[in-house]
């Protein structure tokens, strides 16, 4: 009786089994890449805003301090978004009839708040606190990038857990002197030697503390 399967079937089946491993690995790789891709993280994606607010203009051009608008960044978990009246402090006088600013004026007129699109959005089970990061000498730039170079706001970092943990494991790579926290342009001469000194000075807790689950999740 002749063989049902041709001899080449043996090879084919071996190759198939062998290839399945690569296929599975490949699929996992694709999934991981997709997970880290801007499609998922929205890194560098510019979202539509009611007013095309330019950080470059306000920060680099006019020299406004971050805290003028994000006023609770040193005291609260939430950095704070400027109220309409904060915008109107200046825009009563300047560009007071620019059509771009109509949503701001209309908000002031009607008392309806402006709905900004959230650019930096952590999942709801993450409890990030701005004030402690600022107090420990983590600069705005570390997470938000050079906003003074952004005409339209975008998310500069992936904001995924592995990215958070990178710094929670090695804060010395990001920490800066307290008076440079809000600076967009500060550069460490030698972060490798300055970092550990600042970590001690600012009493930044050890990696075991900072990577406990309940540090961020509760």
């Amino acid at each position: 009786m002749s063989q049902i399967f041709h001899r080449s079937t043996n090879t084919l089946s071996r190759v198939t089994i062998y290839a399945a491993v690569f296929l599975a690995a490949g699929l996992l790789f694709v999934a991981a890449a997709l997970d880290r891709s801007p499609y998922n993280t929205r890194q560098d994606v510019v979202l539509k805003q009611p007013v095309p607010f330019s950080h470059r203009h306000h920060v680099a051009g006019l020299g406004l301090d971050c805290r003028y608008c994000h006023s609770s960044v040193e005291t609260s978990a939430f950095a704070g978004m400027p109220s309409t009246t904060t915008c109107m402090n200046c825009h009563k006088q300047i560009w007071s009839d620019s059509p771009m600013l109509e949503p701001v004026r209309s908000s002031a007129r009607t008392g309806t708040p402006i709905r900004w699109t959230r650019v930096h959005d952590l999942p709801d089970f993450v409890y990030f606190n701005h004030s402690i990061h600022v107090a420990k000498g983590i600069g705005c730039v570390s997470c938000h990038g050079r906003v003074d170079e952004m005409p339209l706001m975008r998310q500069a970092q992936p904001l995924q857990m592995e990215w958070c943990l990178g710094c929670h494991r090695h804060p010395e790579e990001q920490v800066r002197p307290r008076d440079a926290v809000f600076s967009q342009t500060w550069q460490a001469g030698d972060q490798a030697s300055l970092g550990p000194i600042l970590v001690r000075e600012h009493r930044i807790r050890g990696a075991r503390d900072l990577t406990s689950c309940s540090t961020c999740h509760r």
Binding site: L47, P82, S83, T112, P113, Y127, S212, H217
Partner: protein
């Protein structure tokens, strides 16, 4: 085996266990023993019926695929909506606290309410308020859910049709105009007990304008007996309050003084301060409880005497006679046997400490008991020391039952033209023999101000939605007279009006808003100079300085005793008595729509979602019923069918049942829960009626948590006496073998920094449940419903285990709050396949919800059974108004996720961040867990056990300190101080 002598005595008992949680356990029923080994009660993880293998595989495959896909969701795009004009004091992300006051039975309890961007989320006690001292009861904790109740009335209605405030005011004022010529003869105002100075001013102004109008008060949890007794003893109605700080001996005459009545939270604190044993235990007071139904006071008592309610006056009179109170004589007062011995021992103890002892009569005891207590306290020189008399807190204290009767008579006679029901629900709560509902229909114009559309609204043409107390300006006085302003935390969610605004409609063409009314009333009371400053200070502090009532020294009328003794009728031996009480959860029925309270396991019975007839085991045997069997209780010409609950320690020949259930109309949660017992109530004797009880043969399913989450172990609760402690300070530790620290499979953790720990002092836990609700409010814990509770799926992170010890007729009761132990060698951590539960650097056993896949291995491996699983989607994520009340600092969990006590990690992190910003260590006491903060007796302490000076470290160094199941070497961070009692030698030797 341990060498503890009690172990032998317990093994000599037929069923071996010294402590038992239910009668089934005492009898050693097999089901209970099986349940001990399971993670959840057996029914919790039951499959739906009729599931075959094929279907199972289908479902398993589908859920795997769906669960996998569910994990792939992308974050939705969200918005940030800043203020248009940011209020100066609000920092987004940081809560603010406002002082206000809540009333129950008219009396105020000072609160601090946490508000996140204008949304109140959590209620705490106000440390500066005398009734609170920072603590609250379960009702206050649950009030936040009442605020956001989506079933609250939302529309002003006329004849069930939608109307508006302006039309209501016009209609009311047209009626008033017609009454003007008649001097207001047809006007009747019915309120609950009022202590609010502003409201009383307004009502008096209405009575000035309409001299023939009348004001009636009716509070279903009536204190008429207290008022009448005061009038009998002192010639006029006075307020009696008890100062337990200097009381060495306390006798509770059917008095649940730690949980019932105005000032209970404060009394519990003062009592506990004299019960916490430190050092040699000098200064520990002694409590004798004589009670007709098991209560919190009885669980704390050093000696407890269970008597039928009808016999309480006799015991009181016998005690008076024993103490030589003039007038307390009579043959009927002779007691027999153990009762006589008990009374003799109590009397001897009292006489040994004149001026440092107190007899407290129960809120629900008849007037004779109160009169006798006044006389006894007078005889013992307690007046002015442990008993303080002041002017009444209520500006118009009246006999409310007669007042209501008068109103009904006027209604029947057609003399009432305008019936204003301002708060309360008299159709449901009025004594049935008055037939109030029928009578009130005779009034042509009736309106009802209430937070819910309820039974009374059905009988009124107009229903005005009432603002919740967190939405309105008002004021109230506490048990000692201290006045507080109630300030709103939020604009009325549903356009409610306050009682002040409704009363203003009687006086003003355009009624002023509440703030103007309350402020003006205090402008006349506070010094004109600097009013603005003192108003602001009063609002900030939550108390108005100098408003506490000074102590009086009224002359005691000695002949009141003779009258009281003369009025005592010995109860018929055969008659069964029905003891009615307000419910520990829904009170008089007003909280019936509050899911947190409905699902709260009631003290002692651990029942949820029902009211029952509590009977003694002997009586249950006589009736041939078991827990869950329905009986018919007949009293006052009415009958009610309700399930029996066999309660060990309940006096024989007596049935205790709680009011407030069987609401016919309130909301989706409370309508139809339990059985209405108001029809069985009698206006003359509201708390005790003669009854007949018959078996019906029906059965009903009750949801009790008493056998849920049973643990192994011989000494879950450890207890002893002061004498034992003095003889052998190490006796608690010796009860169980303590393994060496290094005996473990797992490498030890090190805690170089902080190490959080929590300790519970069992000596002062009253089992009042305030902590359970506080935990629920703080941690967004969902309500699961009666059916799910029956399956053992309740979600409370903190449960209060109740253990009985001794014979079923008169067992000692021990309460034991059990939350996550945060073990240093946690059995749950090592079995989680996905690393969802981990050990933090400070020793917290962290739970990461977003990692949890719901294997439930952790709860399977938890010997304390403190983990709770979301078997279904319990959190209501759909109802918008409920979202407002959630704690924004805590994740709302969804289906398929395990959860448990976190030691309020959000509070720890908050305090740590503040401390780190200031560059200092976290101070002891800076982090309080929600349960600790609410606890009226301060039985819970939390802190850093590495800090030798912290309170928790000091508690842990006490000789009575022990860990639950510490023989397992889990090294729990939650630990206990053994329950100590201070029994009298006389009765012990007995």
């Amino acid at each position: 085996m341990s060498d503890d002598p009690r172990d032998e005595s317990s093994s000599a008992r037929p069923h071996g266990r010294q402590f038992w949680r239910s009668l089934a356990e005492l009898e050693g029923s097999p089901g209970v023993e099986e349940g001990r080994g399971d993670e959840f009660p057996p029914q919790a993880s039951e499959w739906p019926d009729g599931l075959d293998r094929r279907r199972f595989l289908q479902l398993a495959g589908a859920s795997l695929a769906l669960a996998g896909l569910q994990g792939c969701t992308r974050q939705p795009v969200e918005s940030i909506v800043p203020y248009v004009r940011q209020p100066e004091e609000i920092v987004p992300g940081r809560p603010l606290f406002y002082a206000t006051v809540m009333t129950l039975g008219g009396y105020g309890h000072g609160l601090l309410v946490e508000s996140h961007e204008g949304r109140p989320t959590k209620i705490e006690g106000n440390p500066s308020h005398p009734a609170s001292l920072g603590s609250t009861d379960a009702y206050a904790q649950a009030a936040i859910l009442g605020l956001y109740d989506p079933d609250r009335s939302q529309l002003l209605t006329e004849l069930r049709g939608v109307s508006i405030w302006k039309d209501f005011v016009a209609a009311l004022q047209a009626r008033l105009k017609a009454q003007e010529a008649l001097d207001g003869e047809g006007i009747r105002i019915l309120t609950e007990t009022v202590t609010s100075p502003t409201l009383v001013d307004q009502i008096r102004a209405v009575l000035d304008r309409f001299p023939k109008a009348r004001w009636h008060q009716w509070e279903p949890v009536t204190r008429d007996a207290v008022r009448l007794a005061s009038r009998a003893a002192f010639g006029r109605i006075l307020e009696t309050r008890y100062d337990l700080r200097s009381a060495d001996v306390i006798v509770a005459l059917d008095a649940d003084f730690v949980t019932a009545g105005p000032g209970a939270v404060r009394r519990a604190r003062d009592f506990a301060d004299r019960r916490r044993v430190r050092g040699d235990g000098s200064g520990m007071c002694r409590l004798y409880a004589i009670e007709s139904a098991p209560t919190a006071a009885g669980t704390l008592a050093d000696h407890r005497l269970a008597v039928r309610a009808g016999a309480v006056p006799i015991v009181a009179a016998a005690l008076a006679r024993e103490l030589g109170v003039p007038g307390a004589t009579g043959a009927a007062l002779a007691l027999e046997g153990s009762q006589a011995r008990f009374v003799r021992a109590v009397a001897a103890d009292l006489l040994a400490r004149p001026g440092r002892c107190v007899v407290i009569p129960g809120e629900y005891a008849p007037a004779a008991v109160h009169v006798l207590a006044h006389a006894i306290n007078h005889r013992l020189d307690a007046s002015g020391a442990t008993v303080v008399q002041t002017e009444p807190v209520e500006p118009e204290p009246i006999d409310q039952a007669s007042s209501l009767r008068e109103l009904v008579e006027a209604l029947r006679a057609g003399r009432v033209d305008l019936l204003a029901i301002v708060g309360g629900n008299p159709v449901h709560t009025a004594p049935a023999d008055l037939r109030f509902a029928e009578a009130m229909l005779r009034a042509p114009f009736r309106f009802h101000l209430a937070t819910e559309e309820d039974e009374t609204s059905d009988y009124c043409q107009w229903h005005v939605p009432e603002a919740h107390f967190l939405e309105a300006w008002s004021d109230a006085r506490a048990f000692d007279g201290t006045a507080s302003i109630a300030q709103p935390l939020i604009e009325p969610l549903y356009g409610g009006r306050s009682a002040h605004e409704v009363l203003a409609a009687f006086l003003e063409e355009t009624p002023r808003p509440g703030l103007a009314i309350v402020q003006e009333s205090w402008r006349s009371r506070l010094p004109a100079a600097g009013f603005e400053a003192s108003w602001r200070r009063s609002l900030h502090d939550g108390v108005i300085e100098g408003t506490a009532l000074p102590a009086l020294t009224p002359a005691h009328r000695a002949d009141s005793v003779r009258e009281a003794v003369g009025s005592i009728r010995p109860p018929g031996e055969e008659a069964i008595e029905l003891v009615l009480r307000p419910d520990p959860s829904v009170f008089d029925g007003r909280f019936a729509n509050n899911g947190w309270l409905q699902e709260l396991p009631r003290p002692l019975s651990k029942l949820t979602w029902d009211n029952v007839a509590y009977v003694s085991p002997a009586m249950a045997r006589r009736l041939g019923v078991a827990s869950g069997d329905v009986v018919e209780v007949q009293a006052s010409g009415a009958a009610a069918r309700l399930p029996v609950w066999v309660l060990p320690g309940h006096p024989d020949g007596s049935v205790t049942a709680h009011l407030g259930y069987g609401r016919r109309r309130i909301g989706r949660v409370g309508t139809g829960v339990g059985v209405d017992l108001y029809p069985l109530r009698d206006a003359v004797s509201p708390w005790l009626v003669e009854a007949a009880v018959t078996r019906t043969g029906e059965r009903t399913d009750l949801a009790s948590t008493q056998e849920h989450f049973l643990m192994e172990g011989r000494h879950p609760v450890r207890r002893g006496t002061l004498a034992e402690l003095r003889a052998n300070p190490g006796f608690v530790a010796e009860m169980e073998e303590r393994p060496a620290r290094e005996e473990s499979f797992y490498p030890p953790h090190s805690y170089p920094g902080r190490a959080w720990g929590l300790a519970v002092d069992l000596s002062v836990c009253t089992g009042c449940n305030a902590c359970v609700i506080a935990c629920q409010a703080e941690n967004n814990i969902p309500v699961v419903g009666k059916d799910q509770v029956r399956r053992g799926r309740e979600m409370h992170w903190l449960r209060i285990d109740r253990y009985y010890e001794g014979p079923e007729e008169d067992p000692a009761v021990h309460n034991m709050p059990v939350m996550c132990m945060h073990c240093e060698q946690a059995p749950c951590e090592v079995v989680c396949p996905v690393g969802a539960t981990n050990h933090s650097s400070e020793g917290l056993n962290d739970m990461v919800y977003n990692r949890c896949v719901g294997t439930r291995y952790c709860s399977n491996n938890c010997p304390y059974k403190v983990r709770r699983f979301n078997f279904l989607q319990y959190s209501d994520e759909r109802t918008p108004v409920l979202k407002l009340g959630r704690n924004p600092d805590v994740t709302v969990r969804s289906r398929g996720v395990m959860e448990k006590c976190t030691y309020c990690v959000q509070r720890i992190n908050g305090a740590r961040i503040e401390a780190e910003k200031e560059g200092r260590p976290v101070r002891d006491g800076e982090v309080t867990t929600a349960c600790q903060q609410a606890c009226p007796t301060q039985a819970i302490v939390f802190g850093d056990i590495n800090d030798r000076q912290s309170r928790v470290a000091l508690w842990r160094s006490e000789p009575t300190h022990y860990g639950l199941l510490e023989e397992l070497n889990t090294r729990p961070r939650t630990t206990y101080l053994a329950k100590l009692s201070n029994p009298s030698d006389d009765l012990e030797r007995g």
